[in-house]
Symmetry: C2
Subunit: 283 residues, 2 copies
C-alpha cells in the first residue's frame, strides 16, 4: 500500500496532492487526489469527504475545475477523489466507447468476463481506498461522507445505501438515479453484470436500493440542473428516485437549479453548498 | 465585428461565455471569454476587468481553473479574457517552440517579418477587444482594470503603464517583470522586435516603462509565489521592477506567498483578493 506522490500544489493554505498506488482490488496502478486543508498541518484528525467523478473523467477534472479547495480549507475537511475506472490494462473492448470500460467503471463489482477480475470500483472505493487513506492521512475515525457527479453521483448513492452507517451524509450532482432504466446504465450493467435477468442489477441501482434501505436515518441530497441535456434524454431520472424515497419513507431533498447544465460550471456554483451540508453532518 | 457564441454555461447565477470573432488587428479568428455576472441581466452598466493569460494558455485555462466567477458574481463585474496569440495562421516557425509564436504573443506589436502583420496582441488587447466589448456588452464607460499571469502579468503591466489613465488598477500574478533581462523575454523580443540594439525593447518592458511613467497615480499590485520555479530561474525578476518603482516614485505592492508555485492552484487561491482590489478602484 505504498503511495507515490505524483504532484503537490499549495492551494488555499493547504495542499492539493495526487498520489498513485498499486491497487489490489483493481490489479493496476491508480491515481487519486487528496486535498489536505491547512488544519491538517496541526496533526488534527479531520473528517474526509469522498468525491466520485462522472464518465470520461480522471481524478484531474474535479481537482482543476470544481473549486472545492476553498471551502474544504474553510471547513477543515479532507477531500479524496479517485479515478473512475482501472487504467492501462488494455482489456479487449475497454477503450471502444466513452461510456463503458476505461473512464466508465460505474462503481460496481463486475461479475462478467473479461471485466470481473479488475472492474471492482465498488470495493475499491468503499474498502481499499478508505484503508489507504486511513493509513496515510490524519482522518477522524468514522467521520466520512460521500458525494459525486453523474455516474459518480450514482456511485455515491449506492455506496451510501449499500453500507448503512458508513457515511454520515451523501449528496449527488445530476446523478444517474435509476441505471436499470436508462441507456447508460443498461449498457454498463449488461456488460459488467450480465443480462438483466439473473444479473442482480437491482443491488447496484439507487432507486431499487432505497426501497430496501434498513439502517440509521439517511437523507439523500440530490442536485439537478434543469438545462441538463442528459436529464432531458432520460439518462438521470431523478423523479424515479424521489418517488421511491417517498414510498420507502427515506427523506430526500431535490434541489432544482434553473438554467444550469451538466458541466463543472454547474458543480462549481454549488459545491460550496454541498460541502457545508456534509460538514453539518460530520461535525 | 460580429460575434459568434461558442459556448455559454450558467455559473454562479451569471453566464460564462466564449465568443469568437474575426480580428482585424490579428488577421485571424479569435476566441475570448466573457463572464457576465447576474447583475448584467438587470441592464446595468458594469465595470470590466481584463485577464491576460500566460505562455501556452488559450482562453480556456483561466475560465476553467481560476474560479474567478464566484467573486465576479459577488462584486458585479464583467471579466474578459482573450487568447494569448493569433491562431491558425500557420506562419513558418510559429509552432516550433512553446515560448514563441502560437500561445506566446507576449502582448507586443511585432515589427519584424514574418510576425509584424499578425502578431499585434498589444493593439488587440488595448484597442480592438475593448471596442468589441463596449459594443456588445453593458460595460460602464471608463471603468476598466487589467490583470494577468506570467507572460500575461507582463502584458497587464505594460498595457497599464503605456496608457496612463486607461485602467483604474493593474495587478499581476508572477509576472515577467523585466523581459529585456530574462531568457523568455530576450527570445520573444528578438523574434518579434528584432535585435536589442534598435529594437526599442524598453517600450515593452514594465521595469523600463515605470521609470518614465507620467500620468495619473497608478499603483502596481505584484503577487509572487515563493516556490515558483520560474522565479528561481530568473525569468520573472520582480525585484528589478520593485527597485525601479522605488526609484521612480511609483507605488508598488509586492505580495510574497510562501509555499505557492506558478500554477493555477496559486492563482485560484488569491484571485478573490485581486478582484476585491480592482473593485475597490473601480467603484
Amino acid at each position: 500500500m505504498a503511495l507515490t506522490e505524483v504532484s503537490s500544489n499549495k492551494s488555499f493554505g493547504g495542499f492539493q496532492k495526487v498520489f498513485s498506488h498499486d491497487s489490489k482490488e483493481l490489479g493496476c496502478n491508480m491515481k487519486f487526489g487528496v486535498y489536505l486543508p491547512p488544519q491538517a498541518e496541526e496533526n488534527k484528525k479531520l473528517p474526509v469527504i469522498y468525491w466520485l467523478s462522472g464518465l470520461e473523467c480522471s481524478e484531474a477534472n474535479f481537482i482543476q475545475k470544481a473549486g472545492a479547495q476553498r471551502y474544504a480549507a474553510e471547513h477543515g475537511v479532507i477531500i479524496v477523489n479517485p479515478d473512475t475506472s482501472p487504467r492501462s490494462l488494455n482489456i479487449p473492448g475497454d477503450s471502444e466507447a466513452w461510456d463503458f470500460g476505461v473512464g466508465a467503471g460505474f462503481y460496481v463489482n463486475a461479475t462478467q468476463e473479461p471485466w470481473k477480475k479488475n472492474y471492482r470500483m465498488y470495493s475499491y472505493v468503499t474498502e481499499e481506498l478508505p484503508a489507504v487513506v486511513a493509513k496515510n492521512f490524519g482522518v477522524a475515525e468514522g467521520k466520512q461522507s460521500i458525494m459525486g457527479h453523474s455516474m459518480g453521483g450514482h456511485g455515491a448513492l449506492i455506496c451510501a445505501l449499500k453500507n448503512p452507517g458508513m457515511y454520515k451524509s451523501v449528496s449527488a450532482f445530476a446523478p444517474i438515479c435509476n441505471p436499470c432504466q436508462c441507456p447508460w446504465g443498461e449498457k454498463a450493467f449488461n456488460g459488467y453484470l450480465g443480462p438483466r435477468e439473473g444479473g442482480d442489477w437491482a443491488s447496484w441501482d439507487a432507486t431499487e436500493l432505497v426501497q430496501k434501505y434498513n439502517g440509521p436515518p439517511l437523507e439523500l441530497l440530490i442536485d439537478q440542473g434543469l438545462e441538463d441535456n442528459f436529464l432531458k434524454q432520460n439518462q438521470l431520472l431523478p423523479e424515479n428516485l424521489i418517488k421511491a424515497c417517498k414510498a420507502a419513507g427515506v427523506p430526500a431533498i431535490l434541489k432544482k437549479r434553473d438554467g444550469y447544465n451538466h458541466s463543472y460550471f454547474y458543480i462549481a456554483s454549488f459545491i460550496g453548498e454541498h460541502l457545508e451540508y456534509h460538514v453539518k453532518h460530520l461535525k
